[in-house]
């Protein structure tokens, strides 16, 4: 099983690199770009929420901070549209990460249920600040970013696509590394039983905060790239309350806490979402369809596609032949749910 992995991965990588060359139509590359962007955000969110079991619903705040950081850098340094602003993306990510340190520290003082609520509340604080700090963000008037004027319409999406792919790959690599490190083991221990993990010497506070900051960093980069792509920023859109719901849904659909689940979820959901937005641009329909989809996924597939699939495969295997050692990748991540009653002791 393990031997085939690299080939599959390389094939996928080549396919994703070749994709825009094979389908150069701007309509398709735009959808592909957004899919990669959301896949990166979902992967980053999963590093924190999936591994620690703490569901954060305020990461949209770091998207907003990343995008505003990008816009402000471009404005203050008088950057022209082109390749140069891409270099600033990691810097915007660092800004988001820096902001997330005190925020994460405060939010993580609370435990699971309250934590979710605190992150939502903090998100609204930042949205409000984007409206109110007019000197910095220009308030509800919004900001514009430099437009790469010398890129033709056909070529425009290409650089964005590859930068998004790069962010996704780095985030995925980081996620993989965390998953297979002692640090990641500590995070999973926190998810399964925080008190016991602490008793066993895991520095739970520090572990959780680091994961929070790492995911905020990538999400901030996603925000910066997104801002540069759409070239304008408004508080209500840069700080979008739907964002967290969308990436959480992607992780849940693919399999929360698995390595590739978030990407699978993004590949399924983002094109669907783009299609619905195009088809039913009237806001109401779009929300209803999205909400219904969400309900269906959580009610009928609460564990996500990958864990359900791997359990099904394992069942088939064990009924046929002797089960040959667990697959060391994403499969065994899905331990019994942390809140399942009676499991912890």
């Amino acid at each position: 099983m393990r031997k085939f992995k690299p080939y599959g991965l390389i094939a996928l990588l080549l396919a994703s690199i070749a994709f825009p060359i094979a389908f150069p139509s701007p309509a398709i590359t735009t959808i592909a770009f957004f899919t990669l962007l959301y896949a990166a955000a979902a992967t980053a969110w999963n590093i924190f929420a999936g591994y620690t079991g703490y569901i954060a619903l305020g990461h949209a705040a770091y998207v907003g901070i990343g995008s505003y950081a990008m816009a402000i850098f471009c404005k203050d340094w008088n950057l022209q549209g082109g390749y140069l602003p891409f270099v600033l993306i990691p810097l915007a990510g660092i800004v988001a990460a820096l902001v997330s340190i005190p925020m994460g520290w405060i939010a993580l003082r609370t435990r699971k249920h309250t934590f979710v609520v605190v992150t939502i509340a903090m998100f609204f604080v930042f949205q409000l600040m984007a409206f109110n700090l007019r000197g910095l963000t220009n308030g509800s008037v919004g900001m514009t970013l430099p437009i790469p004027t010398d890129w033709s319409g056909a070529f425009f999406n290409f650089p964005f696509y590859y930068v998004a792919l790069a962010i996704l790959l780095v985030a995925l690599g980081h996620s993989w590394w965390i998953r297979h490190s002692k640090y990641g083991l500590g995070l999973l221990a926190i998810r399964d039983d925080e008190e016991r993990a602490r008793g066993l010497g895991v520095k739970t506070g520090q572990f959780k905060l680091t994961a929070f900051v790492i995911s905020a960093f990538y999400v901030g980069m996603v925000g910066a790239l997104h801002a540069y792509f759409i070239e304008s920023l408004y508080p209500a859109f840069a700080f979008d309350p739907l964002f967290d719901l969308v990436i959480a849904l992607m992780c849940f659909l693919g399999g929360l806490g698995t390595l590739s689940g978030p990407i699978l979820g993004a590949i399924i959901l983002e094109p669907t979402q783009q299609y619905f937005t195009m088809r039913f641009s009237q806001n109401g329909y779009y929300l209803i369809i999205y909400g219904a989809m969400f309900l269906a996924i959580i009610l009928f597939l609460p564990d996500g596609i990958l864990p359900t699939l791997s359990r099904w495969l394992a069942k088939r295997q064990s009924s046929g032949t002797v089960r040959d050692g667990e697959d060391s990748d994403s499969v065994q991540v899905q331990a019994p749910s942390p809140n399942a009653e009676g499991v912890t002791r």
């Binding site: 003082r109 979710v116 109110n132 849904l249 369809i289 969400f294 912890t344």
Partner: protein
Amino acid sequence: MTLILDAFITGLLSGAIYALMASGLTLIFGVMDIINVGQGALVILGAYLSFFLQQHFHIDLFVGLLITMPTMFLLGVGLELAFIRPIKRNRTTLSILITFAISLIIEGLLSLVFTTNLVQMHAWYVDTSLRIGNFYLAWVYIFDFALSAVLLGALYIVLYRTKFGYALRASMQNRTAAELVGINVERISAITFGIGVALAAAGGMAYGATTTFNPNSLYDLISRLLVIIILGGMGSLRGALIAALGMLVIEDITSVVWSPIWANTVFFMLLVVVLVLRPQGLFGQLEGRKQ
């Protein structure tokens, strides 16, 4: 000085409206251990229902509550049966996502039916004011305050003076133990959810009568409600009541002394301060280890 006093009174009166909405939210959390992120949407739905009854059937806003509250109660029970009860594992987390989805659907339906134009309710008590010295106060604030007092009083009586209330408080303290002594916790949960949603209907009418709203207002509402129940301590009714009154008073005073723009922010800053000093909120209990 009189300005501050005026702000204090307005804050106290509008705080009562928030107390009404937040009490439903914190009650649901206390009994069922789930966070109903859809409360904001349900409040707006309640406001639109009252508005609809008034526009099309000329039913007074307060009288309309006799129709909207039972309707929303049934809606709440229905939502609980259809979407909350089927969740078997990881209830708290999944319930947040589910109620968020419900909130989206409600927002979508409301924008379809009523569009996103801002709505303003009219009635004699909304449009005329009571004059106290140099200070004008719309009658609706006083009526809303009375409504909150009556409903919260009724809730208190139900919780502390009836057998159902004893069962409900037992489920709040310990779900499993309540089940063991023969309380039908599932039934209590459904009814609690219904009560929470019915309170949202009343809160929605009270809210809608004091301000303009559209389906998007739910985001502003839910963020404030969440802050209120965190501050009060999740699951504490008394905490929600005090936090709602306190927050709104502080907000209104800030907007007078400093600037209305920053009033909201002060609201959230307080949250940060309280969380640093007292993570469990003002009246909350530290979460022990759940078995």
